[in-house]
Symmetry: C2
DNA sequence: CCTTGACGTAAAGGAAACTTTACAATAGAA
DNA sequence: TTCTATTGTAAAGTTTCCTTTACGTCAAGG
């Protein structure tokens, strides 16, 4: 799973902190998603997409993941 | 968060068991999502949408949730 | 009847997502 | 230089997602 969160965030001139506030999550969560440490929950993915006025599919690019 | 998983599953003539197998998750997971006990992870949401050839937004309908 | 398939519940345990706190590094502005 | 904003790391704890196991119900077919 790739994502373009940092890209969209910068395009909208938001800091990680401001975005986290807006989404009601911690800054750590934003960092973790941007750095691809994990995927957001589906509700959070919806909130993110809504924030930028796009589809979930525009920000999050799904690719088969290798299983552990 | 509403979802139309059961609807899409039936439209494709799949049992919960077959769908679970196809998605590599347990039948409990399918039941829990259909019965709205929780939302799927984003990767699973992608797999589900892919299975039915639609967008995540077609199956999962986001609505502001009341916070505990 | 009895069996089988499909759907449902419950509970305990593990894994993934998210929080809070604390601290470090850099860049730009005063 | 010093201050502030921004991004980053790490660790410990909670909540949500998902698994496994076991069992209950109902309908359809033998």
């Amino acid at each position: 799973m790739k994502n373009r969160l940092a890209e969209y965030r910068k395009k909208h001139a938001l800091s990680q902190d401001k975005l986290a506030d807006h989404l009601n999550v911690s800054r750590q969560t934003i960092i973790s998603i941007e750095k691809n440490r994990y995927s957001p929950s589906l509700p959070l993915a919806f909130e993110i997409a809504k924030t930028f006025g796009v589809l979930i599919e525009d920000i999050f690019i799904y690719e088969e993941e290798e299983e552990s």
